[in-house]
Amino acid sequence: MKKLSPLKLSIIPLLMFGFGFALVPLYDIFCQVTGINGKYYQVADEASLRLVSAQGEKVVPLRLLADADSRDVWHFTPEKKLLEIQAGKMITTYYEITNDQDVEVTVQAVPSIAPGEWSEYLVKIECFCFNQQKIPPHSTVRLPLQVTLSSKAPEEVSHLSLSYRIYQSEPLGGTF
């Protein structure tokens, strides 16, 4: 009878330990495909935009929300709380952030879209969340956001909500 080697068997737990970590990028891919956690939207530049979004009839209300971390003291609000987005029509809007502190802060905005499964139909051309933002002391900065609706959005897409939560971050990453 062929014997099962315990060393060979130990490969399974080792692989599974790795698999635990592999779940992190797998989850990201999974989210991207299914839109589970509402983090994934389309990013387009002007050229490709013409390809993805031909002018459409469909108008969808987009609700803008802002959400500052409870330990952070800046004021962060959208200039407009409600937009109507239409495929092929670009809309530029602004968020306002005020830094009352005596020092410059670097912040990163993290978006979340609800319902998550429709997040792929929100196309962003320009967003302050793409990069970290430096806010000088005692000043208010207008952060631009340029969005449109994907022409691929099916009929049942009836509304979208886009929320930004803002975090103070170390300049140059420090994120994993």
């Binding site: 971390d69 952070d72 009352d100 979340s112 005692h138 939560r165």
Partner: protein, 372 residues
């Protein structure tokens, strides 16, 4: 031996059935006041009856065997031990039952997920340990904290009917109106649950979740946080007050005016500050720093005789406004009005034998808040 068991069980049955207010015990899921909650209740009852039927059949056969196929009655053991046909039957029949269950369940779920065409959007934000309701179509935005006094919790006072289920400012909603909730959280994961609406959704920091409701009849509906969120988890109830559309409209107008007024800064006397301060302290601070200011070191430092409460007043105000990074102390700048912060700081400096004698004026707080 068996007699002991049976008499105990019958004693329990007697105990339960003889209770005068049987209905008040709350034995079953509420039917609720929305279409969805009715559907969910019906689903619950259907699956419950299916389960009871399965249990009756399985336990019936078992009980029959236990009674009739026991050695003490002279039962002889048969030797059958396999039958593919039987195995197939009891694989297929449950499958059919399950498919039967899945059909209404799927329909209800699809309905629950239809968040489109809401007339009102409300952002619900979970905080440790209170809720914040932001009416996105209006200039209305407020916090809702438990209003049960701590004397009732520590048993030194008789408990109210709605013990632990009452708040200072309820969420007011109009009836017959589709309301969409956008859930998020400031700190840890909470979960917003009102059984009568059959809405339960986790509030997750950094993400938004959606749900909706359409209430059929006016009334007060109570719920609680259902995701462990720290020591105050049991003390962040939800109260929804459903009113007629007209009443809702006038409430919104009055609320917007009241909130604007609260933002205005006016001077207050020391006595006013102390009275208001005690109220604000007990609602917002006492959970951690304790009612008597003793705190629960080392996680929650005491305020009685503390360096902060007896030290520089500007620093004290700033801690309340901005919180302390990487500790449990959160920032109250957006949770409390300027006068509330002034009051609570004054209270902390002059209560429990702290006798600084000074007071924080709302003007000073406003100045520090705006960092001018």
């Amino acid at each position: 031996m068996k007699r002991v068991g049976f008499s105990a069980v019958s004693a329990l049955l007697l105990l339960t059935t003889s209770h005068s207010a049987f209905a008040e015990w709350g034995l079953n899921m509420t039917e609720g006041v929305t279409r969805v909650s009715h559907d969910v209740h019906d689903l619950h009852m259907t699956i419950f009856y299916v389960c009871v039927a399965i249990a009756v059949v399985v336990f019936g056969v078992m009980l029959y065997s236990i009674i009739y196929h026991r050695k003490s009655r002279g039962a002889k053991a048969h030797n059958f031990h396999e039958s593919t046909v039987v195995e197939l039957i009891w694989t297929v029949i449950p499958l059919i039952i399950l498919v039967g269950m899945c059909i209404p369940a799927t329909a209800t779920l699809i309905d629950m997920y239809d968040n489109s065409d809401a007339e009102i959007d409300i952002q619900v934000t979970g905080y440790q340990w209170k809720w914040r309701y932001t009416y996105l179509h209006e200039e209305v935005d407020f916090f809702s904290s438990m209003s049960t006094p701590s004397e009732q919790i520590d048993n030194s006072q008789a408990k109210d009917v709605n013990y632990l289920l009452e708040v200072d400012y309820p969420l007011v909603l109009p009836v017959d109106t589709k309301v969409r909730f956008l859930f998020t959280s400031k700190d840890v994961i909470h979960s917003w649950w009102v059984p009568d609406l059959a809405v339960k959704k986790d509030t997750i920091p950094g993400f938004i979740n959606e749900s909706w409701t359409k209430i059929d009849k006016p009334g007060i509906y109570r719920g609680q946080c259902t995701e462990l969120c720290g020591k105050g988890h049991g003390f962040m109830p939800i109260v929804v007050k459903a009113v007629s559309k007209a009443e809702y409209k006038s409430w919104v107008t009055a609320q917007a005016v009241a909130q604007a007024a609260a933002r205005e800064v006016k001077e207050m006397s020391f006595a006013e500050l102390m009275t208001q301060g005690e109220k604000v302290y007990n609602t917002n601070c006492a959970a951690c720093h304790q009612k008597n200011g003793a705190g629960m070191p080392p996680m929650f430092p005491g305020l009685k005789g503390s360096a902060v409460a007896l030290g520089d007043i500007n620093k004290h105000i700033n801690i309340v406004l901005k919180g302390v990074r990487s500790t449990a102390m959160s920032a109250f700048a957006e949770q409390l009005s300027v006068s509330d912060v002034a009051a609570v700081v004054t209270y902390e400096r002059n209560a429990w034998g702290n006798d600084k004698g000074d007071h924080a004026s709302p003007m000073l707080v406003k100045k520090l808040k705006d960092n001018k």
